[in-house]
Symmetry: C2
């Protein structure tokens, strides 16, 4: 299996060690807050007691309940965007098609999410399985399902704007926030990735990523500033910076 470079979810386990060794020091402009000049702070796994405590103490966690109920493992190494999209559709209770093998039950799966011609017109499942998807493609796929989807590239957001966006979104249950980021800026091995955000902890200024590559990393609380750096990285597949997609039912 060969995947083109610089697409989400592309990194294969064989290169994990190399990716870690090759982690470059962050090139930082002067005059940034002190936190930015430090190496990425340790992530805190959600399943562990400290991660659960951060969740208990979070005030902005309206998205957590609906998303955790729909938590998925991406169906293949390139499907991080697809799994994230399916979690959004199910958690917002968007009317779903039938699912093969489940009788008349209707829910979104990583297969039937490509059934509509309007969706396949944006991007085919075969292309996604080979290449992953860019931020704008993720936005287009969500919009093809009748959702209001707005992509914001990371380099258009100040840290304060990003924090405001995260808090206001995660405090409301009727919208969702997906992030397209570079794992390396979080101190993780790998490259581009997509997952939903579920909660914000104000005391620690950390945000919770429900990581759909569950075979690789658990869900983690990361410093908001690290995630901000991670969405400002360049995606060479698009030539643009990564970023966020804000999703809402119309």
């Amino acid at each position: 299996m060969t995947l083109p470079a610089f697409r989400p979810c592309r990194s294969l386990p064989a290169v994990l060690g190399l990716a870690l060794l090759a982690l470059p020091p962050l090139a930082l402009p002067p005059l940034l807050p002190r936190a930015l000049a430090q190496p990425a702070a340790a992530t805190i796994p959600l399943p562990e007691p400290q991660g659960q405590t951060l969740l208990l103490q979070s005030a902005d966690r309206a998205d957590y309940g609906p998303l955790a109920e729909q938590f998925l493992t991406q169906a293949n190494l390139a499907y991080c965007g697809v799994a994230s999209m399916v979690m959004v559709l199910n958690s917002l209770a968007v009317p779903a098609p039938a699912a093969a093998g489940y009788g008349s039950y209707r829910f979104w799966t990583q297969d039937n999410v490509f059934e509509a011609a309007a969706t396949r017109a944006v991007l085919s499942p075969e292309v996604v399985a080979r290449q992953g998807m860019t931020l704008q493609e993720l936005r287009g796929l969500l919009a093809s399902h009748g959702l209001q989807a707005r992509a914001i590239h990371g380099d258009r957001l100040s840290l304060a704007q990003f924090r405001l966006l995260v808090r206001s979104n995660l405090a409301r249950a009727d919208d969702r926030l997906l992030v397209n980021y570079d794992r390396k800026a979080l101190g993780q091995a790998g490259g581009g990735h997509i997952s939903p955000l579920a909660a914000y902890n104000a005391t620690t200024d950390r945000v919770l990523i429900l990581d759909v590559a569950r075979y690789r990393y658990p869900s983690v609380w990361v410093p908001l500033v690290d995630l901000w750096q991670a969405i400002r990285t360049n995606d060479t597949a698009s030539g643009l910076s990564r970023g966020v997609v804000v999703v809402r039912r119309i």
Copy 2:
């Protein structure tokens, strides 16, 4: 698709309405606590604010974090026991085989959980897909993976013993508790089912079921007494009552 009667997860959506209409009144012996003589109390969905509040207020929730991180939808209408088993294996970090399509990443799936000959000797995936599984078969499948697994039929447990078992298990992170129950005793449509328990709320005396049939019902907080009634029902496939399986790494 035809499934033999009285096995877990066997109920098909077409019979939902009939199952509800046919719900018999509970035949209750005299002198039971007042709560038992009432119809099943309403379930409280976990994803909704009230369900999240019960989770926040739960003191016995050590299993919730690890299980929620591994939450799965059963792979077909008869695989409730398989999905529950896979959640247990992943959440206890039992060393896993490789998973097809995921490179060298190793984790338990509803496919590779049947790879070992010792597992297939207990029950084949084909048989489970047709018939589901009984409580003792669930125990045997878990034991085949080197886990300590103890099945307790519901009619061997008093309400007080069941409460003690639930609380002590869910207060510790290193063991798991699976329930095999009849949905009807919880006021739900359907028949026999299997899912893991994740938390207990003492104030309301309710227990949290992470329901692997996510296409059908959300995870719910149910009165412990209702679940106790639900595990004391007869499974005509075995001729024995349903019950619980306590699982621990050796």
